[in-house]
Symmetry: C2
Subunit: 514 residues, 2 copies
């Protein structure tokens, strides 16, 4: 690898109409394509380049992101930003009929005509970090592999293919298999959640529910209420539909419905998105009073509520609180569920419960999107529920995850000087506030050196938060790995706190992570 | 069932600002909710109501569609349009905390704020017809259940769960499993299609590829070139993104590239969508000369080509023609493939081959849409290819489908007086032109009476075609069912041709099917 850790000469024309970041992109692209910056060349860190060009760091950040999108550079946590290996759009041998030297199509120009619907998340670097074998990942909310009901599933698949036959491999209705919709409905009713089978739409994972709702209910400029913090996977989907997000803070009793009331008095959002039970990332459970208040407000202002509920069956202590759907008497709630956390995520089986007029419209959107959810997975989940495997399996999960939660609480107990947190009563996450506000990109670097990955809290906010948070997940690692991982993490936090460059620059513009 | 086959009294105010179809909706809704039209009441046929109100038939059609969307009525081929059973948005028992008599939320109003992204296809009635056990379906392009490699799949699943373990049930990368991307790349290269594994994006069925391309490349008002006729599932996805479709006719040698050339001289479409090999529905194969012409035009005008290629491995005669991707030297082609027709559709495994800058953007959109494709199905397809099951399986499929095609050709040979067609060299469909232009909704009725389903050709056109076409699929039924089904269909065509009401009304506005 060429270590070009020196300044790159870039001339900027401040009187030009062309935005500065575009000028930086054009100049670096020219140098890469012209061979002046070879493969593996290490570009200067954003901060340094920004200082030398006397521009905002966010300008350099935007330029590097665009260069990354063009496939010209790659950045790697802990290694910096490097020039990629050169290759044309397709590198296959020319075919017999080719005119030699025919011009390549300019995908850059075609794609550049429009803003991408989903911006490139810097978080991807982090996820690739988590794949390094020496790294303990406390970042993603993966369910534990060792808790998956492998043997039960193997038996059910064998029976399905033997007894049911080709139907399990054939096309199936967009709404989902009737038998599965009935099984989901019965199971929800048994949990106190009213549901008719024709109100159930089977989804290719609950993420699809967010996408369908965003595409059918939201148009550019609409306002959507989200919790602060909120699920990292929901925010880009909502903004991709052109929604302007209104954040309502979450405290120990869930969404601050007093603040929601004030918002609804003045604005007319199209949707309220909430995770009322074991909220991701905060772990908060919305109190019964707040739930009733939320429903009352939503019905009065005629604003639909999307209740995202992946974790409510994973309760390790405390008393159950009814779901919004169970408390709703006005039909204002759309209920989103999934089997990803409680059976396994690889089947991609989620579901939504919605009043028929909504469901009918979502069915058409789903048909256009992927025709239907995979049939084999649907049969499997139906058998898993109907043959009575789910309840005993859940009992086992609660015991095992509860022990993992306790292991994380024990490990974090030594870090009260740098972190504030409360052990959650359910779900997968500890939400930790830093006692000092620090730059999370620095912390990422120190954590990568220490061999641990985490989710920077800023990813869970629509706007830059006033304090520094991290989300630590205890679901995937073993208890031993949790102890070791948290140890490494706390060490990284202490290193960062002692690193003078990592004090959060109060005057800075764009935060390092979105 | 109450048979209310008499006129419904509706007063229309022609001086009102409210569109007439809205007035019809409001009046019928009022009668249904007021109990004057009870559950099961049969509404007058569109044609009769239109005549009695002295409005266009399309106006009544629009009103009935809206009422259907509201969940108030349902229409059934052969049974007419009936008032649905009444039920509130949710019919569960009020919970303890409920304020009695709390107002239901008005989903009708919330949904009515926006035009649905995907219009309700009347074709749905047809698909429900095809589910009647007494009906032989020549409508949908389902692969044959009896040809699915059930035993091989059962063995592979067992091995995967035993040997690979929980990873086959865990989350997996949005791009697709690396092993599967490599297997697809190797398989494509073996078929003469250049492809690197990092150019492969695994999809939840190839339909998702259409959806992602539409959402990332197309913005409202953009023009998109489609073939005429084209794949029924593609047109609504493209128009949902706001695309204006420019249709280029297909003849025996595929898309008329001379006409495409004339269009590209004057317009600047964002995309050319083509099914060059065994086109759905026409069965046409684009000639080598046209393929080269298309690629030359696309590169010169810098317009991406989306090559949809589900059927090319199902060739029963004639010489292979290279895919557009194989002939492309400029990187202008996005190639869309699927295992639905050649392994099974229930796993929902498709893929796209695209230059890296495009792929990177599609990956982000896919992540927002469904995180990733189901992991179990991906492992299964990877094993199926890598262990060498695919090639012998394809040989068997070609023999069996070829025999089905021949059975349909024999059965249709007696119908030269009413239908014109050419046996396809591959794929799943016969595309038949009626010697007389007839109203396809009449034909649907007669066919339903006779116990056979088909796809009305108009569904495959962006604009109303000048002649009447039907698509007959031979893939799913057995050879015996094909003979019987075609016999029933031809009888229905003859009945319709003798039905004076079925002669196509030349002066009419909206066609009966979109």
């Amino acid at each position: 690898m060429v270590n070009g850790d020196k300044d790159v000469e870039i001339l900027i024309d401040r009187s030009s109409q062309i935005p500065i970041y575009r000028q930086i992109v054009a100049r670096i692209e020219e140098m890469i394509l012209g061979g002046r910056l070879p493969e593996g060349f290490k570009l200067p860190p954003e901060r340094r380049l920004a200082a030398s060009l006397e521009v905002n760091r966010s300008t350099v950040l935007a330029a590097y992101r665009e260069l990354k999108g063009l496939g010209l550079i790659d950045s790697h946590v802990g290694r910096g930003t490097l020039v990629r290996a050169a290759h044309p759009a397709t590198d296959h041998q020319p075919s017999a009929g080719d005119a030699p030297g025919r011009t390549q199509i300019s995908w850059r120009q075609i794609l550049g005509d429009y803003q991408p619907r989903i911006p490139d998340p810097l978080i991807r670097d982090l996820l690739s970090l988590a794949e390094r074998p020496d790294v303990i990942s406390l970042a993603a909310g993966l369910p534990a592999s060792e808790l998956m009901p492998l043997e039960t599933i193997r038996g059910l698949l064998d029976t399905l293919l033997t007894r049911v036959g080709p139907a399990v491999l054939q096309h199936s209705p967009t709404e989902g298999l009737t038998r599965l919709r009935e099984a989901i409905s019965r199971w929800l009713v048994s949990r106190g959640i009213p549901c008719r089978s024709d109100e159930v739409l089977v989804l290719s994972g609950s993420q699809q529910g967010l996408d369908l709702i965003a595409s059918e209910l939201i148009r550019a400029g609409d306002e959507v209420v989200v919790e602060e913090p909120s699920y990292i996977g929901a925010l880009p989907v909502l903004t991709a539909s052109g929604a302007r997000l209104i954040s309502v803070p979450v405290d120990g009793e869930g969404m601050r419905t007093d603040m929601l009331a004030a918002i609804l008095d003045r604005r007319r959002p199209r949707l309220i998105y909430t995770l009322p039970t074991f909220q991701n990332p905060s772990g908060a459970v919305m109190s019964l009073e707040r739930r009733q208040h939320l429903l009352e407000l939503a019905a009065r202002h005629q604003v639909p509520v999307l209740e995202d509920d992946p974790y409510s069956e994973l309760r390790y202590g405390g008393a159950r609180v009814p779901s919004l759907r169970a408390l709703d008497s006005t039909g204002v709630v759309l209920y989103l569920g999934t089997f990803s956390k409680i059976i396994c995520p690889g089947l991609r089986i989620g579901y939504m419960v919605a009043p028929r007029p909504v469901l009918q419209q979502l069915v058409l959107a789903k048909q256009a999107s992927d025709l239907h959810t995979n049939t084999l997975g649907q049969h499997l989940v139906e058998r898993f529920i109907t043959e009575g495997h789910l309840e005993p399996h859940l009992t086992g999960l609660r015991t095992a995850y509860s022990a993992k939660r306790d292991a994380m609480a024990r490990a974090l107990a030594t870090a009260a000087d740098v972190l504030r947190w409360q052990a959650p009563e359910g779900g997968f996450y500890f939400w930790c506030r830093m006692t000092r506000r620090i730059e999370l990109s620095r912390l990422l670097g120190h954590a990568a050196d220490a061999g641990v990955a985490f989710l920077p809290g800023a990813s869970c906010f629509a706007a830059e938060p006033a304090e520094s948070y991290v989300r630590l997940s205890f679901s995937f690692p073993t208890e031993t790995q949790i102890a070791e991982g948290v140890g490494r993490f706390v060490e990284a936090v202490r290193c960062t706190a002692e690193d003078p460059r990592a004090l959060y620059p109060e005057a800075a513009g764009t935060p390092p992570l979105v």
